[in-house]
């Protein structure tokens, strides 16, 4: 369970996140949508403990800056985080050692699914940007986090990797993991989200629950809010 209560993040006078509250329950997939500069990446960095903020973020009941919370959190950054001088396999070994886990087979399984196993002896610097992104995803998932936060995970991925990553999202959901995904690609998330939050100017402009009904599509709602001048903060519940 990921729970965010009253998170505000300011850079000087500029308010990047203004009193944001939401939750992603166990086995739920939450989506963050919004135009550039809406504050999606900032709230994600607050959740993962990279930025200071006021308010509270909890990972399964533990404050996000505690060791207990960090153990249960997986984070895929917007820009692939890869070490130039480590091989693909060594990245996985590093994460396993740092998180003190032994499950080597799961690392191999992740690499195979994202077509990186045959490149396990390649250095990080030799990988293309898409491959680096795939490796970043494997690193974030290899310790089996209970809360997984993805910042624009589909950018730069090939069609096979996109398909496989969507399957991974569904599996994480089935295993009871709370998944939060920030994305610009609305059509790529249409079929598996549970709760969508549309951000504008650092606030939530709308929150929509996916009840499987025939109502307004997520894309229509997004354009209605971002282009139609819908009042900020007005919740559009489904």
């Amino acid at each position: 369970m990921l729970s965010i209560s009253g998170v505000t993040k300011k850079y000087g006078k500029n308010v990047a996140n203004d009193n944001i509250s939401f939750a992603v329950g166990d086995g739920q997939i939450g989506i963050l949508l919004g135009p550039n500069g809406a504050g999606k990446s900032t709230i994600i960095k607050c959740i993962t403990g990279l930025l200071r903020f006021t308010g509270r973020v909890e990972i399964n009941g533990a404050a996000n800056n505690t060791i207990e919370a960090k153990r249960q959190l997986g984070y895929i950054p917007e820009m692939p985080a890869v070490y130039d001088l480590l091989t693909v396999a060594e990245h996985m070994e590093f994460i396993r050692r740092a998180y003190k886990i032994q499950d080597e087979a799961y690392s191999q399984q992740l690499l195979e699914r994202l077509e990186l196993w045959d490149k396990k002896d390649k250095l990080g610097k030799e990988l293309s940007k898409g491959m680096q992104q795939k490796l970043s995803i494997c690193c974030a998932l290899c310790h089996r986090p209970r809360v997984a936060v993805f910042d624009e995970p589909l950018v730069g991925l090939d069609p096979h990797a996109i398909k496989e990553l969507k399957n991974i999202f569904r599996e994480l959901k089935r295993d009871g993991v709370s998944v939060l995904i920030s994305t610009h690609m609305i059509d790529s998330v249409e079929d598996y989200w549970d709760v969508a939050n549309i951000m504008m100017n650092g606030r939530f402009a709308a929150t929509k629950l996916n009840d499987g009904g025939e109502g307004q599509s997520l894309e229509d709602l997004f354009f209605q809010i971002t282009e139609g001048g819908s009042g900020e903060g007005s919740g559009v519940g489904a």
Partner: protein, 550 residues
């Protein structure tokens, strides 16, 4: 209408000045640097009376070595397609000037003109050497400006020659290799000739007694032979030697040498430019790669990600991190990355600094030969090595680690992560201390107790500067200007050194213990607690990436 290149140069200059006025911090930075320069000049005037002046040929020899080192580094880097942070062409030149209807040769001269100005600016730090140069060689400010000019010329010609070689050998790895081997060969012959002249001097002055070989007398003979060789033959080392010959010739009034040097420099410049201009293809393609590499390095720096130095072709070797659990995995990962980057223990810069310190031990040993017990020479060497340590002390892989999210995400206490992430640097510092101060102690004839204390004192400064580095990251990490950050870094490190330096000087003056023992004990006794205290206060640095501006 004005030439677009003149317009570009003028507008850039104007905007740089405007920037300085718009950002008061930059202005303050310039004022403080100017004040430091004035202080160093006044200090040099006051302290210059008590020592007998050394011959100016020595200064010419130092210039030959220094200019040559800088020239070779610039040239080899240029031939390899690298351009450092100051490429001849920036990416904006490549994308805007190259496709424009301006003749390539005009664009080339625009870049050359700008590069000459930049090379002279890079020599600015030499102005701070006034104090000791005035004291030891009686150098005046006008002479110092000439030394800067020679330095700028060496860098500039290094880039021009590298560009000529690069364009001519472009796309032909064998030709490029041949150019490099030729340069290495000439350098090797030069070094061999220097040693050939120095070693007999060393042996002759030691007389019949072999144990006197490594005493001050021995070194003095070798030094004299080396100076004689460098000031007579070394000044003909291609390009950098000519620059040293030009400046040295003016100093000692040897205008024939200065004139020959000018002619040789002009000839080299003309040949290099002709090689570029007369190339059958224009040089655009050749500089594109170096402009792109430099641009990505500049962008990474702006984003707070230090550019990683690594060989073009990395030898993977044995795979696997092998050891480590929790935070210690960082340490073993760093060792593996160091091996792959070709860095066994020390960086190239550290090795150069080590050689300079050991060389200075020889020089100071001769300068202070009359002083009792070599304490004065040792204090001078130790002070200089500590000053250089401020610039050479880096946080190694720790800085790169800060630009990735993993170090913050690892579920361990931030303090434990901090200690393991800096362990590799501290380990290298301990080895470096021994590599520097064992030979320095032998050269200066210090006893075993002083030798051990020297090593400990150096390690205590490493610990202090490492913790100072962490402190600067913690307090000033969000400062974007790298110049300002460096400024804060140097000031902070100097302030942190004060307790150790103060206690050391006090114990040295009290003369309660023989030689420099008191000073070294004082340094260690003050530095270690200060360093540990800072590390403790910064223990939460790795709690948030934001604390260090990443």
């Amino acid at each position: 209408m004005k030439s677009p290149l003149i317009y570009l140069t003028a507008v850039k200059l104007k905007n740089q000045l405007k920037e300085a006025v718009k950002h008061p911090a930059k202005l303050i930075y310039v004022i403080v640097i100017a004040a430091a320069l004035v202080l160093s000049t006044i200090g040099g005037q006051v302290n210059s009376e008590h020592l007998e002046l050394r011959p100016l040929q020595e200064l010419t020899s130092i210039m030959v070595l220094f200019y040559t080192m800088m020239f070779l580094m610039t040239f080899i880097n240029g031939v390899n397609g690298g351009a450092g942070n100051y490429p001849m062409f920036t990416l904006s030149d490549v994308s805007m000037l190259f496709p424009s209807p301006i003749r390539p040769n005009k664009v080339l001269f625009y870049a050359l003109f700008r590069q000459l100005g930049l090379s002279l600016l890079l020599g600015f730090f030499l102005l701070f050497q006034y104090n000791w140069l005035h004291g030891v060689y009686g150098v005046e400010y006008s002479h110092l400006l000439l030394i800067v000019l020679g330095y700028g010329l060496s860098l500039f010609l290094g880039q021009v020659c590298a560009m000529a070689a690069y364009t001519r050998a472009s796309g032909n790895d064998n030709a490029r290799r041949l150019v490099k081997y030729c340069v290495y060969g000439i350098t090797l012959v030069f070094v061999a000739a220097l040693l050939f002249r120095c070693i007999p001097g060393l042996v002759a002055s030691a007389g019949d007694s072999p144990e006197e070989l490594f005493t001050m007398g021995g070194f003095s003979g070798a030094l004299d032979a080396g100076v004689e060789f460098l000031s007579a033959v070394g000044v003909f080392f291609p390009v950098s030697g000519w620059a040293a010959g030009l400046i040295g010739g003016v100093f000692i009034g040897d205008y024939l040498l200065a004139g020959i040097s000018v002619l040789l420099i002009l000839a080299a410049f003309a040949v290099a430019i002709l090689l570029v201009v007369k190339n059958k293809n224009n040089y655009y393609e050749d500089v594109l790669q170096s402009a792109e590499v430099a641009q990505s390095a500049i962008t990474a720096k702006k984003e707070g990600q230090p550019a990683e130095v690594m060989p073009k072709n990395v030898r993977v070797g044995k795979t696997g991190i092998g050891k480590g659990n929790g935070s210690s995995a960082l340490f073993y990962k760093h060792l593996l990355e160091n091996r792959r980057s070709g860095l066994l223990i020390f960086s190239k810069m550290s090795i150069i600094f080590m050689l300079i310190i050991i060389g200075c031990a020889v020089l100071y040993g001769v300068i202070f030969a009359d002083e009792e017990g070599n304490t004065a020479a040792f204090v001078a060497v130790f002070t200089m090595s500590t000053y250089m340590q401020i610039f050479s002390e880096s946080l190694g892989r720790f800085n790169w680690e800060l630009s990735k999210p993993y170090i913050y995400m690892i579920p361990e206490s931030p303090f434990k992560k901090l200690l393991w992430a800096t362990a590799e640097t501290l380990m290298a510092d301990c080895v470096e201390a021994a590599v520097i101060f064992v030979p320095v102690s032998l050269i200066l004839g210090l006893g075993p107790v002083e030798m051990v204390l020297c090593i400990l004192a150096r390690i205590s400064f490493s610990l202090l500067f490492t913790s100072g580095n962490i402190l600067v990251e913690r307090i000033f990490g969000t400062v974007r200007s790298k110049g300002l950050l460096l400024f804060f870094y140097i000031i902070s490190l100097m302030l942190l050194s004060l307790p150790g330096v103060g206690l050391g000087i006090a114990l040295l003056s009290l003369e309660l213990l023989p030689g420099a023992v008191g000073m070294l004990l004082g340094v260690v006794a003050a530095n270690v607690p200060v360093a540990l205290l800072i590390m403790f206060f910064c223990r939460n640095l790795l709690q948030y990436a934001e604390l260090n501006g990443k």
